[in-house]
Amino acid sequence: MRWNDWAEFWVMGGYALYVWGSVGATVLLMLIEVWVAKRQHLQTLSMLQSNHPSSTHQGS
């Protein structure tokens, strides 16, 4: 590791706003994308289950 301590790591030589602004946006958008994809999949599954031909399976 090339940093002497964590404080130096977070400060990023004075470019913290730019470096962490890039990292933060990337991580945030990826998390949102995964969350949206998961939600859409679950919504589709529940749509399939409620429209299933054998609706007797429904109940729980």
Partner: protein, 250 residues
């Protein structure tokens, strides 16, 4: 495998295959992202000219590559869809678009955050930046157009045309730094000459690029399964799935 590619091009078989594959791609993507982040942000030395701000390269270059590669993939699937009329092609194109749009946005965002400390400007109307902005608009245009047309087949065809016509923009982005006198620096990695960067920096960047590539595979495979279920919801095979019956699902 002996049934060939067309066997896996059937939505029914691809649904199963994609379901088996995406968790592995997700796992590998996470491991490579951790390794890439470690090298890029913890181990790689400070850049002599740009100080620590250069570390944005470990995100900016991989997301920019992905924004172009995903558009190429969308054009590829669109050509296949229009010529061979395979159902899976349009589903893949649709599944790719949101991730491509996200990477194009991140390319512009990280670029702005790099441009400000280095050039003194968040944005300039330079050939590289402008063509990448057009790529972002092409993704948005594709998503808006395909979701505005109710008829799935017509939406797919219209989307395929946008994807194919718009692909001309990808080489323009790539070669813009050569063809025009731009503020944007030239390619850091080239196929024809040795990379103009230190080994460790190169490794950090390549690991991140590979991680984003696998992330894209995982997410697109996951998303295409949702699309397959929606489009094939009236078929017997979908209704025979345990997850469609809701009996085994919590």
């Amino acid at each position: 495998m002996n049934q060939g590619w067309f066997y896996y091009a059937a939505p029914q078989t691809f649904y199963g295959l994609a379901g088996k594959l995406w968790p592995w791609f997700a796992l590998l993507a996470s491991l490579l992202a951790i390794a890439g982040f470690w090298i890029g942000f913890m181990v790689a030395p400070t850049d002599a000219q740009q100080g620590e701000a250069y570390r944005i390269i470990f995100l900016h270059v991989p997301v920019s590559w992905m924004s172009m590669i995903i558009y190429l993939a969308m054009a590829f699937w669109s050509v296949l869809g229009l010529t061979l009329n395979t159902r899976l092609s349009a589903m893949m194109t649709r599944a790719l678009a949101p991730t491509g749009a996200m990477f194009a946005f991140l390319s512009l965002w990280t670029g702005a955050l790099w441009g400000k400390p280095m050039w003194g400007a968040w944005w300039v109307w330079d050939a590289r930046l402008t063509s990448e902005l057009i790529l972002f608009f092409l993704y948005l245009g594709y998503i808006a157009l395909t979701s505005a047309i109710d008829d799935t087949r017509r939406a797919d065809r219209a989307g395929a045309l946008i994807a194919i016509v718009g692909v001309i923009n990808v080489p323009i982005i790539y070669f813009s730094v050569k063809w025009w006198n731009t503020l944007h620096q030239g390619a850091s990695v080239s196929l024809t000459r040795a990379p103009s960067m230190a080994q460790l920096m190169l490794w950090g960047m390549l690991l991140m690029a590979l991680a984003f590539w696998l992330y894209t595979f995982a997410l697109v495979f996951y998303r295409v399964r949702t699309i397959i279920l929606e489009r094939e919801r009236h078929t017997d095979w979908v209704n025979a799935l345990p997850e469609a019956k809701g009996s085994t699902n919590s």
